[in-house]
């Protein structure tokens, strides 16, 4: 590793992230296909409507397991602290690239932490409601009202999750130098110092 780089994610975490990312894309495309008629053509990517219906839940279980592993590993880094509340109140500075005016950020900023917990909630709702509406294995065992509630919640949680991931992807494109953290596992020292100063001090000593 070059001396101006520091490690942000280990190989196992990066692989796990991309397993979640790939399964998420498959799930979002197949889920949207069954959600709105305008998106039904996406079923062609999966071999037709029947195959979309068959594959979606299995891919969903895979995403849930991969995400659960990630959540168990990272939840401690995502506890909100006082600085985070100030950071959120100053959201105008965040979206205007006035980072120097924001309170000091640790390994994750408040936006990332919030997204983390939103995803935890969505994943929990998705797996539970998904099992309730899973044809032909589980749905026949549940009462109709529960299936209706689950159908609505599944769509709602998926909507929130997709919205969150759009923000997540955009943030990675917007804050230059972030994507390398998940592809090569490294960020530059200057990147860390600028965006995550408290974390930078922790990993790089006093510099």
């Amino acid at each position: 590793m070059r001396s101006n780089l520091i490690e942000r994610y280990r190989a196992e975490d990066r692989i796990n992230h991309w397993v979640i990312a790939i399964t998420f894309i498959l799930l979002a495309l197949s889920g949207l296909a069954l959600f709105h008629p305008a998106m039904f053509w996406l079923t062609n990517l999966f071999g037709g409507g029947q195959w979309t219906r068959i594959l979606h839940p299995f891919v969903g279980v895979l995403m849930f397991v991969a995400f659960a592993w990630m959540a168990l590993k990272f939840w401690q880094h995502n506890m909100l602290v006082d600085n985070d509340r100030r950071w959120l109140r100053q959201w105008r500075d965040v979206v205007s690239n006035r980072e120097e005016q924001l309170p000091e950020v640790g390994r994750y900023n408040a936006g990332q932490k919030l997204l983390f917990w939103v995803m935890v909630a969505c994943m929990a709702v998705l797996i539970l409601s998904g099992i309730v509406i899973w044809q032909p294995y589980f749905a026949p065992a549940f009462p109709i009202t529960l299936i209706r509630i689950a159908s609505l919640l599944h769509a709602l949680a998926a909507f929130v999750l997709i919205l969150g991931i759009i923000v997540h992807i955009y943030a990675a494109l917007w804050v230059k130098g972030s994507i390398g953290a998940m592809t090569r596992g490294t960020v530059t020292r200057a990147w860390a110092r600028k965006h995550h100063p408290a974390w930078y001090r922790e990993v790089a000593g006093d510099r």
Partner: protein
Amino acid sequence: MPLQSLDITRRSATTSPSPTVREQTKVAKLIDISKCIGCKACQSACMEWNDLRDTVGDTSGVYDNPRDLTDESWTVMRFFEVEPNGKLEWLIRKDGCMHCADPGCLKACPAPGAIVQYSNGIVDFHQENCIGCGYCVTGCPFDIPRISKQDNKAYKCTLCSDRVSVGLEPACVKTCPTGAIVFGSKEDMIVHADERIADLKERGYDNAGRYDPAGVGGTHVMYVLQHADRPELYNLPKDPQISPLVSLWKGVGKPIALLALAAAAIGSFFHYVKVGPNEVEDEDEERVRDAGRAKQSV
């Protein structure tokens, strides 16, 4: 199923209009429960015409046989022993698809053309387009569609759309020995029902009436009930309608959600165009480098 596409007025998961140049007469099947003797000839005729042979089940000690609708039993007689006015009555209702004017199954279905509604009012499943998701079951206010364990496709009464399209009545109507099931234009069936209701009222059934629930826009299978004030005696919902949960999910929810997602993606792009990337500046690099050198020299 073989009705012409020209007669399809509504198609599941389709947002563009269907052919509208031709309008058929609205049809209806009227089931007069007061005339039904529970012989199950309609069940047999249904099996025969549609060429279905359900697996032989077991008895639960009552006359209901099979116990419930299945993918291969599209109509079932349900027997109710009730005492509505302190005296025993044996109510027998032929259960099956109600062919709602506003069908919950069609509203919920995500597969284009898997469920259609003909301009004569018949709601039909086109199994070749069905993907087996079960949303029709979720959407139906009457608990009618059944998913086959063999092919995972949904099935229900077609109101013999194939027979009706060539001017015949449904098989159950043709076979009914007491005339409890009749078929014709919905208008005529309402007139006929009114006559029957007047007759029943004369015989002491003060609450006799027609079951054609407005909550689902009316139905193309109607009942004459002796106790129309208490449809629950026949295990019929009192005021059936598409569940608000389903309406939210497959009604207003879906365009709003799609718009919001598109807005988020486009909004992100315009944010980038407006404020530009958040980049590490040269001075940040230098500061880190200087700090590094300072540390080395100590």
